[in-house]
């Protein structure tokens, strides 16, 4: 059966599922720690999103290539070692590229290791699919994760500091809502996004239910 899933055709869905249907943050609630901790500005959110995507792509690509060679008894240990390796690589790269970003993200770069999303993808997708579809799915997940981080980061920076990427938006008269930059603000903004998504989903369900009732009425006539 393993061969069967190996040859699944790559569809648009392989990529898009990570962005909308299975969005790691808003739908699957994975990897919440960095989502809340580093999103007090757009720049930090972007850096974290890119770093996580890089680790996700590299580690899953390697796991996908080795999928027939890793015995299942030690697969989790092997996955964790591979992920930790790429996280260390990213840690050094960010440190070399920009000290400012490195100091802003702090220990959260190293904590990418325990981001459940990456291990979850390795276990659920990369270990069963060939390289090409793993890469596309991983890219979708990474983009979905980055978009979610940006959603939070932009709201928090806009309300908490009145700026976006450091540029003032609201002008001098705006009194920043400092609470948005502090820990409670992270919880509140993520909660509000989840409320919004739940509301959209409920409305869709109601509409489709209403539509099917309407069709049934037409058919009955």
């Amino acid at each position: 059966m393993a061969a069967k899933t190996d040859n699944n055709p790559i569809t648009m869905d392989t990529f898009l599922s990570g962005i909308w249907k299975e969005n790691p943050v808003f739908v699957m609630l994975l990897g919440m720690c960095p989502v809340l901790a580093v999103t007090n500005s757009v720049a930090n959110a972007l850096a974290m999103g890119l770093a996580t995507t890089f680790v996700l792509l590299c580690s899953n690509a390697l796991i996908s290539l080795l999928r027939h060679h890793i015995p299942k008894e030690v697969r989790i240990a092997a996955y964790i070692v591979i992920i930790a390796t790429f996280v260390t690589v990213v840690d050094y790269l960010i440190h070399a590229i920009s000290l400012e970003v490195y100091n802003a993200l702090g220990a959260f770069i190293q904590l990418i290791v325990v981001n459940c999303m990456i291990l979850g993808r390795a276990e659920a997708f990369a270990s069963r699919h060939r390289l090409s579809s793993t890469l596309i799915n991983g890219l979708g997940m990474g983009v979905g994760f980055t978009i979610a981080l940006l959603c939070l980061g932009s709201v928090r920076e806009l309300l908490g500091a009145g700026t976006l990427l450091g540029f003032p938006i609201f002008g001098e008269a705006f009194e920043p809502w400092v609470i948005m930059l502090l820990p409670p603000g992270g919880f509140f903004v993520l909660g509000a996004w989840l409320l919004l998504f739940a509301w959209v989903k409920e409305r869709q369900i109601k509409r489709s239910a209403a539509a099917s009732v309407g069709e049934a009425a037409v058919n009955a006539r």
């Binding site: 059966m1 393993a2 899933t5 007090n40 080795l66 060679h69 890793i70 015995p71 299942k72 008894e73 030690v74 240990a77 092997a78 070692v81 591979i82 930790a84 390796t85 260390t88 690589v89 050094y92 790269l93 440190h95 070399a96 590229i97 920009s98 000290l99 100091n103 069963r128 908490g160 500091a161 920043p176 400092v178 930059l181 502090l182």
Partner: protein
Amino acid sequence: MSSSASVQPQKPKPTSSVKLITTLGLIALFSGLLVVSVFEFTKPYIAENQRIALERAVLEVIPGAVERRDFILTDEGVFPKDQAPESGSIIHAGFDEAGRFQGVALEASGRGYADVIRVLYGYDPSCQCIVGMTVLESRETPGLGDKIETDPLFVANFERLDARLAADGSGLANRIRTVDPGAAEQPWEIDGITGATISAEAIGNMLNRSADSVLPELAPHWAAFEQNN
């Protein structure tokens, strides 16, 4: 795909432990090689970044300085970093274009409101005063506690803050401290910040503690900085 059982072969044969160990060993070997090569590759860039950041901070707190040189403070005295006979604490000193000694940059840290605050301050021996201060690390509340970095009135306290040594050279003559906003009357008092009382007081206390302990050690050796031109 939905359940892990459907993907595994129907009768999984137990894998031999030799294979388990070889696989893990190979993966560990690969990881080690990758990490070490990235470490070696990024090392010079990281060192360079840190040097630039340190240099910027040192030159910022010593007005007039354009060049940084490192010295080592030992029990014997002060020596340029490459001539030090033994290990000791590193002192960053600032020099102007003509190579004249302008002052030293010292680090102080203490407990702020949210977490530990680390600052770098410049000390000019010719006026026996603190001539600049910059925050290296703080997690103070944005908009309130972080005014220790952003409030121009508070930062202006450190343009010329008196840090004279007592006559016997054992410590500061006057205790550096933070007072209520606008209440500073003496040259060694710091005007506090409304809404950031604890953070501002923490700065005063950590400067006092650091200057009180380090300056008496440095004071006999100012000439050593001047000579090395």
